[in-house]
């Protein structure tokens, strides 16, 4: 490792309406290192990297690359300076082939593409870095892991010396994660720089040479990975010491009874392809059943079918022995199914509507007489829930989209819990929240289970499932491929089954 400074960002300030995303952030990265950028959601990691890739322009501050001051006015400038980014949400054109995606935006003046040369070049790169992918395949045909490889290839193809990876492991199985880390190591051994953005402490410890921690838009400090520990990093990240423990349950589940029963469920996804293949599962009152799996293996469809948002092609769903009509959300709501969807702002809530209207989103029919809304009732319900669930909002009539992420989730949870459901489907309920909010949400889920609600917790965060669930099911390609009691769960084993390997 040389001591040459590859990237230096000084005093970076970026303001967005209502927030200062980066507040005089400093970052210094050496050539040939994997440098982790650690911080909670909203700490300013993504903003900082978007500035470095020319997508945003800083309000103040200076960027130096290889000792030279640079001004980026567009992503093209950053690319030309050798900076490439692998975004968390892939920037790929799904109808294009791998090769077409790779050459996109290449500053080559030739009118036509040399398809053969491109394919050969892609092949060469993928061999060298262990990024196996077929150059002529179309993106939509690829798995999420493969798509990420295309993203990395794209950046390498453009000759990037500095690679930024934004939460790259979120979509990978544990095995794919290990492979990715190997690839990153090969890259830095060639003198490239990898900036690894994450909020997962274990991974940061495993892959990085140095870590810069951001909190609330400011730099908290930079440490050598070898000289630190997960607990130290955690307290730097959050600003106080935190301990992640398995949550203690007050009341055990009534395992002899079944509240939610799903039998041989089949359903299609938005493109009409099979998303669920005879899925069967049951949840007992007071039990938390965790569904583990890599994103895109049918979890979203499962949640939608159970909550009546998506029709089933065959199978049955019953709550307390009463069956739910296929694709009828109203029927599911009436039978006592509460649903906390993954996409909170646009599915779980009508984000331009007020807090009180969102509380009434499911029970507005009961809040009316002769089909006229009873505004006072809606207002009263809102006042009660805001207080009871400790929701921070300027008012009952404030649009939900103006609330912070944690409070948005609280509005959603408050509505769903207050309907006294029998079953709760929670899909990635803590994604994107800060530590404090995550704790609150987890506590609420456990409270619900303690009060006898059957909880189906769908999450890509295996640790969350391990710490909350009583029983764990693993989904892979639309099927349930494994079932274990949480007490006997083996992290590595589950990781394997998530990747489709059944031991």
């Amino acid at each position: 490792m040389t001591s040459e400074i590859a990237v230096k960002m000084t005093g970076i300030v970026k303001k967005f309406p209502g927030v200062v995303a980066n507040d005089h952030v400093n970052l210094e990265i050496m050539a040939g290192e994997v440098h982790a950028l650690l911080g909670e959601n909203g700490a300013g990691k993504s903003t900082l990297s978007n500035i470095l890739t020319g997508l945003y322009r800083q309000d103040a501050g200076m960027i130096e690359i290889g000792g030279k001051k640079v001004e980026f006015n567009s992503p093209r400038d950053a690319l030309n300076a050798g900076i490439g980014m692998v975004h968390q949400h892939f920037r790929l054109v799904s109808t294009f082939t791998v090769a077409e995606n790779v050459v996109l935006g290449e500053s080559d003046s030739s009118l036509f593409m040399d398809h053969k040369a491109v394919a050969a070049r892609v092949q060469e790169l993928s061999d060298r870095y262990g990024l196996a992918v077929d150059p002529s395949a179309r993106i939509w045909q690829l798995s999420v892991g493969e798509q990420q490889r295309v993203e990395i290839l794209k950046v390498l193809y453009r000759g990037a010396r500095i690679l930024i990876l934004d939460e790259p492991t979120a979509v990978l199985t544990p095995i794919e994660t290990t492979e990715l880390f190997k690839t990153l190591r090969v890259m830095v051994s060639e003198g490239r720089v990898v900036i690894f953005i994450s909020h997962k402490l274990d991974e940061v410890m495993a892959v990085s040479d140095r870590v810069t921690v951001l909190r609330g838009g400011r730099t908290v400090g930079t440490v050598n990975t070898r000289e630190t520990s997960t607990t130290d990093l955690a307290s730097l990240m959050v600003g106080r010491s935190v301990e992640f423990n398995r949550v203690v349950r007050q009341t055990p589940a009534h395992r002899e009874k079944t509240v939610l029963d799903v039998r041989d469920l089949c359903a299609a996804d938005d493109r009409g392809r099979v998303a669920l293949e005879s899925v069967s599962l049951s949840v007992s009152p007071g039990e938390i059943v965790g569904i583990a799996g890599v994103a895109g293996n049918g979890q979203r469809e499962l949640a939608e079918v159970i909550s009546g948002m998506r029709p089933m092609t065959s199978g049955s769903i019953t709550v307390d022995g009463e069956s739910i009509q296929s694709g009828r959300a109203r029927s599911a709501i009436a039978k006592g199914i509460a649903h906390v969807p993954e996409d909170r702002l646009h599915t779980g809530l009508a984000s331009n509507h007020s807090v009180e209207d969102n509380f009434a989103l499911k029970n507005y029919r009961a809040m009316s007489r002769f089909r006229i809304l009873q505004r006072q009732k809606i207002r009263d319900q809102s006042t009660h829930l805001i207080e009871h669930y400790d929701i921070k909002t300027p008012g009952s009539d404030t649009p939900v989209r103006l609330l912070s992420g944690g409070n948005v989730q609280k509005v959603l949870l408050a509505r769903e819990f207050s309907a006294s459901p029998k079953v709760l489907i929670a899909a990635s309920p803590t994604r994107g929240l800060d530590v404090g909010a995550i704790e609150t949400v987890r506590e609420r889920l456990v409270q619900a289970a303690d009060s006898g609600v059957g909880v189906l917790l769908i999450s890509e965060d295996l640790d969350e499932i391990l710490s909350l669930a009583d029983r764990i099911l693993v989904m892979y390609e639309g099927r349930i491929v494994a079932e274990v009691e949480a007490a006997q769960a083996d992290r590595a084993r589950i990781g394997l089954t998530m990747g489709g390997i059944t031991a």
């Binding site: 009508a350 984000s351 509507h353």
Partner: protein
């Protein structure tokens, strides 16, 4: 170098913007219109002054504005009701024709009934015809996801052809058999003529009162009822609506039917209150359906404001007809209306975004 001016999404929309921006749009449109006039060799002040005199100033002019405002209020409501849900119904024109067909059928058939009943039944006839015609578009949209903009527009052309067929190319029930050389519609029975009240010398057509009533009903419907709540959620996020168990398909059809019913009511007013017969040429020339879109956009989809804006656009249109001649070409008023629509659309952005200037060069702040 990145542009110096950028748009930044507003976190909160101050209430005063809701009326300041439309007014500012109007002023901007008048300035742009003046530019067009000046470039084409007309004196903008002169033209505007004449429009004002003939469109608004004085009892006679204002009576004319109200007369023209009546159909526009209905077609404006038609567009606004659909816009509120994110549906673009530009079929108000065709639905208006169909409403006129339905209402004139009722008006011609009911010879001896008392006036009040005739008016009510004519309104119903217009509404039924208009709403069924619009519901076709709604069903296609709801069932097959067919773009309602193009289908509703195609239906306008079909309605126009149908109208011509009824009056010019057939011996239909609507055509006056006593005038074979100059084809025209049958004149309605005298009892089917709607009242026009005179208040301080200004003629107030009863249909304009019906328009105010319709605007109020729509306002209550959208603001206070369960149905309105459902429409609001659907407009905000179709996914959230599905999540909450709101029936998307039937709501789309109902909103389209409602929208068409309002246009149809306008057609009934045209026949009953103003022309007294199904005037195939006249109502096509008027193009109320398209102008209604301008009215709704300027009123920012608010049903009550729509009725008010209709008076303004009505006066403008009336003045256009009255002044038409060699030095006041047709097309001028249409151009002005188009400009108003432009600036109203652009003004919408000022309500949503704030215009910010960014410093050209960012200095290091230590």
């Amino acid at each position: 170098m990145r542009s110096l001016v950028r748009l930044e999404r507003r976190l909160e929309q101050p209430k005063w913007l809701n009326w300041v921006v439309p007014l500012a749009s109007l002023v901007a449109a008048l300035i742009l219109g003046a530019l067009v006039l000046w470039i084409t060799g007309k004196n903008p002040f002169d033209v505007y002054q004449r429009i004002f005199e003939r469109g608004f100033a004085g009892k006679r002019a204002f009576s004319g504005a109200l007369e023209m405002a009546t159909p526009l209020a209905f077609t404006g409501l038609c567009a606004a009701v659909a816009f509120r849900m994110g549906l673009v119904n530009i079929g108000g024109e065709g639905q208006f024709y169909m409403g006129a067909v339905g209402a004139s059928y009722v008006g011609i058939s009911l010879g001896g009934s008392p006036t009040g009943i005739t008016i009510i039944l004519m309104c119903l006839g217009g509404m039924v015809f208009g709403s069924v015609y619009a519901a076709i578009v709604g069903v296609l949209r709801a069932r097959f996801n067919t773009n309602e903009i193009i289908t509703s527009l195609m239906m306008n052309y079909l309605a126009a052809i149908f109208l011509n067929y009824l009056i010019f190319n057939s011996k239909s029930f609507w055509r006056d058999p006593d005038s074979p050389q100059f084809p025209k519609g049958k004149t309605l029975n005298a009892r089917a003529d709607w009242n026009t009240y005179s208040i301080f010398g200004v003629n107030l057509p009863i249909a304009f009162l019906i328009a105010i009533l319709a605007g109020s009903v729509v306002w209550v419907l959208y603001k206070r009822t369960r149905f309105g709540f459902e429409v609001g959620v659907l407009a905000d996020s179709p996914k959230a609506a599905r999540y909450a168990g709101i029936r998307t398909t039937s709501t789309i059809v109902i909103v389209m039917a409602l929208s068409g019913a309002l246009a149809g009511l306008g057609g009934a007013a045209d026949v009953g209150n103003f022309r007294g017969l199904l005037d195939a040429k006249g109502i096509q020339m008027a193009g109320y359906g398209y102008t209604g879109i301008v009215v709704a956009a300027l009123a920012r989809r608010n049903p009550l404001v729509t009725v008010v804006v209709a008076i303004f656009i009505g006066g403008l249109t009336k003045a256009g007809y009255a002044l038409q001649g060699p030095d006041f070409p047709s097309g001028l008023v249409g151009t002005l209306q188009g400009l108003i629509l432009f600036t109203a659309v652009a003004g919408e952005i000022l309500i949503k975004y704030r215009v910010r200037t960014t410093p050209r060069h960012s200095e290091v702040v230590a």
